[in-house]
């Protein structure tokens, strides 16, 4: 009897997967020579600095990050509507770690950049036999109000691939809306910024829903994110406020990067 119940719940689960996630969350790049990157949010203003910890990922994969030839990467910068603003090549010096200070790169045409992708130069893909792709899903550090200490968060979505000079969105979305509940109780006093990127090739509409202690979800003003664009949803809480939040969209995984700002400090994590 137990076997039958298990078997039925397995079938039910497969049907649900078939309806809600008929394809994979991340699409496979069209070219086997592609490299993959997340789309990392940039916060660069009077209160915020953004840095990225650059590591020699090909070296780490091949078992030796000490190479005779300098390792190079290319950062592609996008504005909040997902338009490509330009790119920058960075040579990794003979070190294990190189911290990229984004504020030093964001001048001229790049000054309105809100996200970036980082692609490693990796032509000799020794992993192709395994059908794998190199993926940069590394660590972005955010500093708030010159505190002298960064909050780190790792890549949240495997957003884009690069083949030659072509950027390919890898995020997937469907017809049936899904909700993602942030697994964190929002507690005041604090300001929460939920930063979304759209890793798909289509415009995505996101509807935030808020609830107090009892489940009384109320929809907030929706917003649209163009392909490869970014938007944030902000909520200010006062002392004793306690809320849950979820986001409804057609994204298979509509998971934001969450910043909780309170007093002179902040916490950042992926939702």
């Amino acid at each position: 009897m137990t076997d039958i119940i298990h078997s039925l719940s397995g079938v039910k689960r497969k049907i649900k997967f078939g309806i809600f996630i008929p394809k994979k969350i991340t699409l496979k790049p069209k070219s086997s020579k592609a490299v993959i990157s997340d789309l990392f949010p940039i916060r660069n203003d009077l209160n915020w600095k953004t840095e990225f910890e650059l590591l020699n990922i090909p070296g780490l994969i091949n078992g030796n990050n000490k190479t005779d030839i300098d390792h190079s990467v290319t950062l592609y910068f996008f504005n909040d509507d997902g338009n490509l603003l330009g790119n920058k090549h960075v040579i990794m010096n003979s070190t294990g770690r190189q911290t990229i200070k984004l504020s030093e790169l964001l001048h001229g045409e790049l000054s309105s950049a809100k996200t970036f992708a980082l692609f490693h130069d990796y032509k000799e893909n020794s992993l192709l036999g395994d059908g794998s792709f190199l993926a940069e899903r590394g660590y972005t550090g955010y500093e708030y109000k010159n505190s002298g200490i960064k909050g780190y968060v790792h890549g949240n979505l495997d957003a884009v691939a690069l083949t030659g000079n072509q950027i390919e969105p890898l995020g997937n979305s469907g017809i049936i809306p899904r909700t993602y509940t942030v697994q964190h109780q929002l507690l005041g006093p604090a300001k929460y910024d939920f930063i979304f990127t759209n890793p798909t090739s289509r415009v995505i509409v996101i509807i935030p829903l808020l609830s107090g202690i009892k489940n009384n979800w109320t929809a907030q003003k929706s917003f649209e994110i163009p392909s490869l664009g970014t938007r944030s949803f902000t909520i200010n809480l006062v002392k004793e406020d306690s809320y849950k939040i979820k986001f409804k969209s057609r994204l298979y995984l509509g998971r934001p990067v969450v910043f909780r700002v309170f007093d002179q400090s902040m916490d950042v994590f992926h939702g």
Binding site: G138, R178, Q185
Partner: protein, 254 residues
């Protein structure tokens, strides 16, 4: 999780991360579990109804439970015995896209820091290899935290070795334990901003965290590193991870 000078906390939220997997709504019992090295012990903390929020902090948990700086919080529909020999495996809060998690972290009188937490028991014997880019400079105290949980309650000692990944030089060897959160201060090693330490344990797997504490206490930083499989996507990632680990272990241990 407990580390010196900070309060550990866990925020539980009884809400599935998505609207289509495992939509349970029955009340659940919340137990705290801890190992005394011979058995797992269990104590009921509370019951949660669907939609509830509950915070537990290490200030409320006795030292007899937190003696290894770690206790596990387990939601279940069942009434647990007070002592058992193997961690229960049945998952009540379970989802895959994304995984059902909660918020765990540390706080002090000024601030708090967190990560999205869940843990599956790790194999009794497994290795750990991870790269650590989280060391910060200036007025920041840097610690490595190593979290291990196994099904068995045994508290077994072993070690983790530190190397400089670039020149492969050996830095130190430090004791870690199973079913424990081990805090290892990193500042005494004087790593430079261009160094990428690699940590290797041959016999104990774990989740490694970088914990940064502003010397003023006014800001904390916490993030976990990832296994080598996270450097690639698609294909046979488990096989790729084995290859990466073997390549590094061969070089680090000659």
């Amino acid at each position: 999780m407990k580390t010196d000078g900070l309060t550990g906390f866990l925020d539980l939220l009884y809400e599935s991360p998505n609207n289509w997997e495992n939509r349970i709504k029955k009340p659940v019992a919340i137990y705290i579990l801890w190992s005394d090295s011979k058995v797992w012990n269990a104590k009921k903390l509370t019951e949660m109804n669907y939609g509830d929020y509950f915070r537990i902090s290490t200030d409320e948990i006795g030292q007899e439970i937190m003696h290894n700086n770690l206790a596990i919080v387990y939601p279940t529909f069942e009434k647990l015995k007070t002592r058992f020999s193997v961690l229960p495996t049945k998952k009540v809060w379970f989802a895959e896209i994304p995984a059902w998690r909660n918020t765990a972290g540390f706080s002090n009188k000024y601030t708090q820091v967190s990560y999205q937490a869940d843990i599956e028991p790790l194999p009794q014997k497994a290795s750990l290899l991870t790269f650590h880019p989280f060391i910060q400079f200036g007025d920041v105290i840097n610690n490595l935290l190593v979290l291990n949980v196994t099904k068995s309650p045994e508290i077994k000692k072993d070690s983790i070795k530190f190397f400089n990944s670039y020149d492969k030089s050996f830095v130190d060897e430090v004791e870690i334990q199973t079913n424990t959160l081990t805090t290892i201060p990193l500042d005494k090693y004087s790593f430079k901003p261009t160094d990428l330490p690699v940590f290797y344990s041959a016999n104990i797997a774990g989740i490694p965290f970088g914990l940064g504490i502003a010397k003023s206490g006014r800001m904390l930083s916490l993030e976990h590193t990832h296994p080598p499989a996270s450097l690639v996507l698609f294909g046979d990632r488990r096989r790729v991870q084995s290859k990466i680990k073997k390549a590094w272990i061969d070089r680090l241990t000659f």
